[in-house]
Amino acid sequence: MQQESKISDITQPAKVSFWNDPDKRAIVYQVVTLGIVGLICHYLFSNTLANLERQSIATGFGFLKKEASFEIGESLIRYSAADSYTRALLVGILNTLLVSFIGVVLTVFLGIIIGVARLSENWLMAKLSALYIEVFQDIPLLLQLFLWYAIFYENLPSPRQAINPFAGLFLSNRGMVFAVPESHPAFRYVFIAIIIACILSFILKKWAKQRQDKTGEIFPVFSVYACMMLGFPLLAWWIGGAPTKMNIPKLSGFNFDGGVSLSPEFAALLLGLVLYTAAFVAEIVRAGIQSVSKGQTEAAMALGLKPVLILNLVILPQALRVIIPPLTSQMLNLIKNSTLAVAIGYPDFVYIANTTINQTGQAIEGVAMIMFVYLCFSLLTSAFMNWYNKKMALVER
């Protein structure tokens, strides 16, 4: 009898108590967690509503249509104090995009140069790069920004005694002013020519790849591409009448007139961002290059590839795979760090959103907008880099 009951115990699954069943327990945990989070949210939300009512602050984004009534130092689009908050914030977004885009391009460029220099055979070069990387990584970006800004603002002379290192460039505490070609219809043709050259080279590249896949013949894409990129705009410039007149900045009153000027705020922000982030990019590039083993180069040489092709077809594709993911996070860092502009007074998005908050008292909407905009920037950048990463990833067969 005893034997029988034991067997039946084993064959029939024993009834598990509610508390000992991991699945049911998980449900309880989750319900409790969600409940606590919900309660906290409800508590904060009701407090906020009560506070807003007490301070008679209207919620919502209605203030965006009101007149901003503050001036912005530099703007890519036409803006005056009579425009709405929406337009002021748009100016901020464009300024952020401008400094981030130029910053990312210059950072990658400088980072690659220093990363390669770090591995140089030249002892001086390698040590100097190492010193640069160590020093610039270890000083907070905000401090670097303050330092550059102080150097620009305090140590450069006033526009009247501006430093003129070479013709057409003036450095003063009002920023950097340099000569640009005077506007002329020919430059419109040049711009169109560049776009045509880009489209043609894209088609050419596809065609050359197809032909190489079919026949094995290699088409010199790069030299044709370079010729087109240089030749087309030059031709358009020549056809347009070859204008050579330059718009040279002249001193009038207390500041310069003409040319293109960079404010000390923009210059300090860009310099700080690029020098700081490039130190990190340089380390990433160094690690990427070192991750490709020497045998790869030797194997490519044994196949009889030329040095350029070894770099292009063997080393770079493998190094890039290691480099791209951390590089992406450095780019995101640069975009997020551009918010430090608020500390030295460059009118980026945070600066303008902060002014808006101070004027209207719409703290919640303002901070929510800052978070939303930067979240969008981050998501877009990482989506682009993920696409690029996938394109570069190892195709395993």
Binding site: T33, N51, E121, M125, L143, I151
Partner: protein
């Protein structure tokens, strides 16, 4: 015996030391390109270094008044030396400066003690809370006959160190919990953690600090206020925790499945499985990237300047806004840069050492 003397005669000593000239030839002038590069760098150094030395050392003033400084073109380090106590301790009552000074020394001693891996045991878990309590007592006062000092007067280096050290210690467990939550099989908890981590990592720290400074007071019921420093501290902790969570998640993913299964088959529950088997291995792998995050958290505390907390950077700025010392920003900021450089270099050097030790 005979053979030995023979071989020693035949074999020459291998060349270990190469002469200076040969070293220069090998490392600086190995080919045409390198030679040009070396000459260019040497020329650049010749153009930059002597004027810099002239400015920073030879023509500089160390203990003078600002009028004497303005008379000559050299660096004016006097801006640092004559305002040193304000830059370091800020608005803390002047006659009580010894208290934060002792607290800083205590912190440094504790950090040096924890540096040694042989001290990583249970005792350290008691030493740190006691140390932190003593530091807090020294800063705050009010007990044992110490004069009480309000937290709004805490500023300068003690504030910077406090924000970063507490930020690191509080963010670490929170980050581990978030990482475990993200790896959990419960969908609700998992998605909560993912949303939190991704949002925080997507926004800049400034927005978190703004939130703590201007939005958070609205969240609290009427009459309750939380100290400004504490709010900034909370923002730094919440921000750093998201980054630590991602690093720890990397470590958790690197642990082989067999380890989880082995812990399960031993009948360990979730807490014991993590505490005794998984986390000790995972956290050990991720020590180097964690130190990297701690370094950036340390540098990021300087951002509290923007919400007008008197950390090291703000006290320096306040000094520079004094008309007497206006215009000597470069010298003061270089001094600050040196402080940060020394701290960060020590940390990154330590992380590299630890990495080497753990690899071997």
């Amino acid at each position: 015996m005979i053979t030995q003397t023979n071989t020693s005669e035949v074999l020459k000593r291998p060349i270990i030391h190469i002469g200076a000239i040969r070293w220069i030839r090998q490392n600086l002038f190995s080919n045409v390109f390198n030679s040009c590069l070396s000459l260019l760098i040497l020329f650049g150094l010749y153009k930059i270094v002597p004027p810099l030395v002239q400015w920073a050392i030879i023509k500089s003033h160390w203990f003078s008044t600002s009028t004497e400084c303005r008379a000559t073109g050299g660096a004016c380090w006097s801006v640092v030396t004559s305002n040193l106590r304000f830059i370091i301790f800020g608005m803390y009552p002047r006659e009580l400066h010894w208290r934060p000074a002792i607290a800083i020394i205590l912190l440094v001693i504790l950090l040096f003690y924890s540096k040694n891996r042989q001290h990583w045991n249970n005792r350290i878990l008691y030493i740190w809370p006691i140390g932190i309590f003593i530091m807090g007592l020294l800063m705050r006062g009010g007990l044992f006959g110490l004069e009480s000092v309000e937290s709004s007067k805490w500023s300068g280096l003690p504030l910077t160190l406090m924000l970063s050290v507490f930020g690191m210690f509080a963010a670490y467990p929170l980050g581990i919990m978030l990482a475990l939550g993200r790896r959990s099989k419960m969908p609700a908890i998992k998605s909560l953690c993912i949303v939190y981590i991704e949002i925080i990592r997507g926004v800049p720290l400034i927005s978190m600090l703004f939130m703590s400074a201007i939005m958070f007071p609205l969240f609290l019921p009427e009459g309750i206020t939380i100290d400004k420093i504490l709010r900034a501290q909370a923002a730094i902790i919440l921000f750093t925790a998201a980054y630590i969570a991602e690093v720890v998640r990397g470590g958790l993913q690197a642990i082989a499945r067999g380890q989880y299964e082995a812990a399960d088959s031993l009948g360990l529950n979730y807490y014991h499985k993590m505490r005794l088997v998984i986390l000790p291995q995972a956290l050990k792998i991720v020590i180097p990237p964690t130190v990297g995050i701690l370094i950036s958290a340390f540098k990021d505390t300087s951002l509290v300047v923007i919400i007008a907390l008197y950390d090291l950077m703000k006290t320096t700025q306040a000094t520079l806004s004094n008309p007497l010392w206006m215009g000597f920003s470069a010298e003061a900021f270089i001094f600050l840069a040196l402080i940060y450089l020394v701290c960060c270099y020590a940390m990154s050097n330590y992380s590299r050492k630890l990495e080497r030790e753990l690899h071997s």
